[in-house]
């Protein structure tokens, strides 16, 4: 992973001290509330329902075991001994005291972590593929490019006061595991016809009140021009994005109102003026960053192990876990493992301090000291030797991180909702429990096949409900939590926005409603057809008829 040099370290330490001074001046009454709000958000600090919430960046979802231990320590020292991992691969602490946040940031800086731009109307932390470096069909590891973008975006002087938040994700493969099409900018590593490597650039994806899929504004960008092109996009957005209405301030609305052609022309005109200049990436720089992302020292004899095959044959539960929660690795004798942060009846994405410490120990023992977070609120150990899979499975099982539910509705993505978030309109955690309790028959879940269920407690869509195969949006009706279903969304390379099924339903009926949707699917699916494909084939109507049948 990226190794900080002296300057990188100096920057995050100075930033922590700068925030300490901002807190001091705020508490001394020298900064007004609304102005401090903007300053604290640029450091990931929200004021929430019960207490402040601090969001810490996990850039492109990559953590060292040492960093994970530091997060555990922060949760013990300043919080309630747990942390929440988010759909943008970051981590949140729900109970810090404002006065202690500067100390938390100083502690985190010691392990090269920070909260820079994890919130606010600025360029947020860069998302990436949690299986980077794992699959043979990858064009290139996207993480060095994500790091290059991170450095460019960090404390960018021109783009700290944008019309609205700005999210970038980068992938290096045709398969999209970073939801790039619903980001403000999606950066895809591609090869052109001449065999040169560069980027395809998408702009204007996003969820929230007006969900949209990003549009390609450049098929091929020479790699050394990446930052100049991003700067051109951000400048056009900063100058022309709407500032009069926060619901119309994202870049997707600008792209929509100008039209893709006009928007592209403005970006290209700006790029013409700056391209080939100082922002042009140097080979020395790119090579230096890439050197930090070299593959780990794999065991060349990993595939020779026979214990794995024996355990697969003799232990059905282990075999099921391998089938659901692991994927083959391009290196023979290795697999990549998903740790499900969806323990039975626990809040999705939450880990206790003990779990964090234990996961860090397991990462050291089995995974070259590396941990990744995913936008599905899970973690990944990307390089597990097959002989280690069985003992790892046992250890994860004891930690409650081995439920074999990846890709099922029990692997639900869920925001914290009304229990914690001051923006939320409805409960989410109790609904997640309701779903888990009702759908706990694994054979049934496996029969349903790949099915993503995403639930947000408000229209801000932190859980990306629009791009769930099934999406659930919590709404408030006269103080009661109600839920609106959408069907047919996808965050992958075949991205689409789900369509609303019908009027929202009350909390107690979420499980029943889900059951009716699933029953309908099972009845009408073609052989081997995914839920998503069935919905795309038949539309919402058959589901709608069942859910809103007259007995209601």
């Amino acid at each position: 992973m990226y190794i900080y040099n002296e300057l990188d370290q100096q920057l995050i330490e100075q930033r922590a001290e700068q925030f300490r001074d901002q807190v001091r001046r705020y508490l001394a009454g020298q900064i007004a509330e609304d102005e401090f709000r903007v300053l604290r958000l640029q450091n990931g600090l929200y004021i929430q329902r019960h207490a402040p919430m601090l969001r810490v960046a996990i850039n492109y979802g990559l953590l060292s075991s040492q960093q994970l231990r530091a997060l555990a320590e922060v949760s013990r020292k300043y919080d309630k001994s747990y942390a929440h991992f988010t759909t943008r691969q970051n981590v949140q602490f729900n109970w810090p005291a404002l006065e202690q946040v500067p100390d938390i940031l100083a502690d985190l800086a010691k392990v090269q972590m920070h909260a820079i731009q994890t919130s606010g109307s600025c360029i947020r932390s860069v998302g990436s593929d949690h299986f980077a470096g794992v699959f043979a069909d990858e064009i290139e590891d996207p993480r060095p490019w994500s790091e290059i973008i991170r450095q460019w975006a960090a404390l960018h002087p021109e783009f700290a006061y944008l019309p609205r938040k700005f999210k970038i994700a980068c992938t290096g493969s045709r398969s999209d595991r970073a939801a790039t099409q619903v980001h403000d900018i999606g950066v895809h590593v591609v090869n052109n016809d001449a065999g040169e490597q560069g980027f395809e650039i998408l702009v204007g994806g996003g969820l929230g009140r007006t969900p949209m899929i990003g549009k390609v504004i450049r098929d091929f960008l020479p790699r050394q021009e990446l930052l100049a092109y991003l700067e051109a996009i951000l400048r056009v957005y900063n100058l022309w994005g709407r500032r009069d209405n926060k619901y119309k301030a994202r870049i997707k609305i600008l792209v929509q109102s100008l039209g893709v052609e006009d928007f592209r022309n403005r970006v290209e005109a700006e790029w013409e003026r700056i391209k080939g200049g100082e922002l042009t990436l140097t080979d020395a720089y790119v090579d230096r960053i890439k050197a930090d992302f070299q593959p780990p020292a794999y065991d060349a004899n990993a595939a020779a192990d026979t214990s794995y095959a024996e355990k697969l044959a003799s232990e059905r539960d282990f075999a099921v876990w391998i089938e659901r929660n692991t994927v083959p690795h391009k290196v023979a004798g290795y697999r990549a493992v998903t740790l499900t942060l969806k323990d039975y009846l626990k809040a999705p994405g939450d880990l206790s301090d003990v779990q964090m410490d234990e996961v860090a120990d397991l990462a050291d023992r089995y995974n070259f000291g590396e941990v990744r977070t995913t936008h599905e609120q899970n973690m990944v150990f990307a390089h597990i030797k097959q002989a280690d899979l069985y003992p790892l499975w046992q250890a994860l099982g004891e930690l409650g991180l081995a439920r074999p539910v990846v890709g099922t509705i029990n692997d639900m993505i869920c925001c914290p909702g009304l229990d914690f978030c001051s923006l939320a309109n409805a409960e989410t955690l109790s609904v997640a429990r309701q779903v888990q309790e009702r759908f706990d028959d694994m054979d049934y879940l496996y029969d349903l096949g790949d099915l993503s269920l995403k639930m947000s407690g408000c229209i801000n869509a932190c859980a990306h409900h629009h791009v769930g195969h099934i999406g659930i949006l919590g709404v408030d009706k006269n103080g009661e939590s109600y839920y609106q279903f959408t069907l047919g969304g996808s965050a992958a390379e075949d991205a689409s926005i789900g369509k609303v099924l019908g009027k929202s339903i009350p909390l107690a009926e979420v499980g029943d409603t889900l059951q009716k949707i699933l029953d309908t699917y099972v009845e009408i699916r073609d052989e081997g057809e995914r839920f998503l494909d069935t919905v795309r084939r038949v539309g919402n109507q058959p589901f709608k008829e069942r859910v809103y049948a007259a007995n209601h």
Binding site: L7, D8, Q10, L11, Q14, R15, E17, Q18, D21, Q22, R25, I31, E35, V38, L39, S121, Q151, W152, A154, L155, H156, P157, E158, F159, A160, Y161, L162, L227, R235, N238, L239, R243, R273, I274, G277, E278, L279, L281, T282, A284, Y285
Partner: protein
């Protein structure tokens, strides 16, 4: 209002003009963009230095050919959340080669000074109630710059 120029407290020698009446004054005039558009020829013919106040809504094309006649461009920040002025300042320097004073006016406070400086703004008109000598330390709170900007065009990978 207190003024900072090139990181030092400074006296303001400019007269701000926002009505036609004011155009008759002598001395260095800082005029609103709309007045400039209407009276550019008359203003260019007078003695004394000229400055124009622009903001994110100003359509700058008519101004650009006269930039070399201006000693000062004031960029208005109507609120601390409005970041268009950062791009305006950079484009004046980077694209239009403006070398005169660029002055931030409006909601100009401590926590934006460094970003403003990096974007090519070298003067800051700070509301009196928000001014303190301490705020001059804002420029040096962070000394590492990943990006090239108007203070130093070299990004981190060209700095060594």
């Amino acid at each position: 209002m207190p003024l900072i120029i090139d990181r030092q407290p400074a006296a303001d020698t400019w007269v701000r003009v926002d009505s036609e009446e004011g155009l008759k004054q002598s001395g260095d005039l800082l005029v609103d963009f709309a007045l400039w558009l209407e009276h550019a020829d008359q203003l260019k013919a007078r003695d004394g230095r000229l400055g124009v106040v622009i903001d994110g809504d100003s359509e700058l094309d008519p101004l650009l050919s006269d930039l070399d006649r201006l000693a000062l461009v004031a960029v208005a920040f109507p609120s601390f959340a409005d970041g268009r002025g950062f791009s305006l300042a950079r484009m004046l320097r980077q694209h239009h080669g403006f070398t005169g004073e660029i002055r931030a006016v409006g909601d100009v406070t401590w926590d934006r000074l460094r970003y403003m400086a990096r974007c090519g703004i070298n003067a800051y008109d700070v509301p009196a109630e928000r001014y303190s000598d301490d705020m001059l330390s804002a420029f040096d709170e962070i000394t590492v710059c990943y990006q090239g900007a108007e203070d130093d065009p070299r990004p981190i990978y060209r700095q060594s």
